[in-house]
């Protein structure tokens, strides 16, 4: 009997659920399906990046069967630095780990992500590349989103806006403040035929920014019991 493997799977299961429970307790996170439906399709969710907990929230609002096939793309040079981070990043989140340091790389990040897509996974990426602390606009997108979309045209590119998480835990703070968060999923994009890199990235950035523009969210009709 593979006791060690069994213990490991139990630890992964417990840690994953504990993280989800904590995230829900602090943020009461709710999905807003504004153009995409919660359906099992192969997707790349591209999201704004304001906090280290970003992909946990996306994960938390996806239905279980979709969550199991959705892998965040994360920095190997961050997640493999300590055994605990490695356990959480590689085992619990099942992250696709890519090295941000060109001089240390043994594999091309694009190839690593394409391999994960070809194995059937959906991905979560943050095309701004680093955490955006300025309120307001998005940082310029990196090219990865375009390269992935052009190489695998059948995969849906879904803009995903995480609202409020940057206020829950601003960079440099250790204790999260509970505030309600939402994750909005917009209509899927595809790289158009003959569409250039700049044009597509501008279109993708505009779609994500439009999703994050303040608008009155849907409600139940106000005031009634």
């Amino acid at each position: 009997m593979d006791v060690k493997g069994w213990v490991r799977r139990a630890a992964i299961f417990l840690a994953g659920n504990a993280i989800l429970l904590f995230a829900r307790f602090v943020t009461a996170v709710q999905p807003v399906w504004a153009g995409s439906a919660p359906e099992q399709r192969q997707r790349i969710y591209f999201a704004n990046h304001t906090s280290n907990g970003d992909f946990v929230l996306i994960w938390a609002v996806l239905p279980r069967h979709m969550r199991q096939r959705t892998r965040p793309v994360a920095a190997l040079d961050y997640w493999l630095t300590t055994p605990l981070r490695a356990f959480v990043g590689r085992d619990v989140f099942n992250a696709v780990l890519i090295d941000r340091r060109p001089e240390m790389r043994t594999e091309d990040p694009l190839e690593v992500m394409l391999a994960a897509l070809d194995a059937g996974a959906s991905l979560i990426i943050f095309p701004e590349g680093r955490r955006n602390e300025a309120p307001g606009g998005l940082l310029p997108f990196r090219s990865g989103l375009y390269n992935l979309g052009a190489a695998r045209p059948g995969v849906e590119l879904v803009p995903t806006w995480i609202r409020n998480l940057g206020r829950v835990m601003p960079k440099g703070e250790v204790i999260p403040v509970p505030l309600n968060c939402t994750v909005s999923f917009g209509a899927a994009l595809h790289v158009g035929e003959g569409e250039g890199r700049e044009a597509f990235l501008a279109r993708a950035s505009a779609a994500l920014a439009a999703l994050g523009a303040p608008a009155a969210p849907g409600g139940t009709g106000g005031g009634a019991p």
Partner: protein
């Protein structure tokens, strides 16, 4: 359930269950007639509201069953969820991080600990005085003057609404009323029933007869017909329940009128805040209803005044 209140509480819960069964049957009939394919938004919303009511009543019943600790913990959690909702709508900055951390992890638990230990002299002034003075100091120490008055005022308001006011519901358990020993949980049951029944009947009368809007800019669903019909119906219901309270029938009517009028005011004020911030609901945790504050708005305004009226006129020291 045991103790002197159990019989009365059982009758009240039974009556609520009967009301909910009737509502569920009506909801299903409406659904079959007007929304067989689930596309009539009003009917679907009504039905999910009714189902959520089952859950809320069950939760409150369980808390009553668990006794004083259950009630204090339930309302502490309501305060937590309400504070999370109300601070979400404020214009706080990074510089407020430590005062917000203090709201959640110090002020809220301490207020409920004071309620638990029955420290009346402190739980009535802790947030209006100590938090009021202490939190702006913490915010000022972070050094940002940007929007300062708005930020500290909004934070204080969120605390008063979400923690101070809601904590006066479990505080009813600490009152000592001669001849009513061990039955204080019935005060909570009566208050919550009367105020929430008023909300429900305002909705029903408004949907049936509502014509003249009271404040169209604040709340499109509040009409004079609904307001008068709802508060009167609920006041009569509260009067008919006088036997579970320390009140005479006439006193029960006056108290019911007071809490339903305050409850109406709470709904109006908290609607105004939502309109100001451009949202329709405070949250979306309670299916069909919105957030915790959407459901508790009337109780929030009624509870502190009800507490002090009962304490002044009925309690002994």
């Amino acid at each position: 359930m045991n103790g002197p209140a159990s019989g009365d509480l059982f009758v009240l819960l039974l009556a609520v269950a009967v009301i909910l069964i009737v509502a569920t049957v009506i909801g299903r009939i409406l659904r079959e007639r007007y929304s067989p394919d689930g596309t009539n938004a009003v009917v679907e919303n009504l039905y999910s509201r009714i189902l959520a009511w089952w859950g809320m009543v069950a939760l409150l019943g369980l808390a009553f069953l668990a006794g004083r600790l259950g009630v204090v913990l339930l309302f502490a959690f309501c305060s937590f969820a309400a504070l999370r909702e109300s601070l979400t709508l404020t214009a706080t900055l990074r510089a407020d991080h430590w005062s917000l951390v203090a709201c959640f992890y110090l002020v809220l638990p301490f207020q409920y600990w004071l309620i638990w230990t029955d420290w009346y002299g402190l739980y009535t002034v802790f947030i209006p005085v100590y938090a009021f003075l202490f939190l702006p100091i913490v915010a000022a120490l972070r050094g940002s003057a940007e929007n300062f008055l708005v930020r500290v005022a909004e934070t204080q308001w969120a605390l008063m609404i979400s923690v101070f006011c809601i904590s006066h519901v479990p505080a009813l358990l600490t009152l000592r009323i001669a001849g009513f020993e061990g039955k204080n949980v019935l005060l909570i049951a009566w208050l919550v029933f009367t105020v929430q029944f008023s909300d429900v009947m305002q909705y029903v009368w408004g949907k049936l007869l509502g014509r003249r809007r009271i404040a169209p800019a604040l709340s499109p669903s509040k009409t004079w017909e609904g307001f008068i019909g709802g508060t009167l119906t609920a006041s009569v219901a509260g009067t008919l329940l006088w036997w579970i309270t320390p009140f005479s029938p006439a006193q029960a009517f006056v108290m019911a009128l007071a809490v339903t009028l305050l409850g109406f005011g709470g709904g109006l004020v908290l609607s105004a805040v939502k309109r100001d911030r451009g949202v329709k609901d405070w949250g979306n945790l309670i299916a069909g209803h919105g957030g915790f504050i959407d459901r508790l708005d009337s109780v929030i305004f009624a509870a502190p005044v009800f507490f002090h009226l009962v304490r002044y006129f009925w309690a002994s020291a």
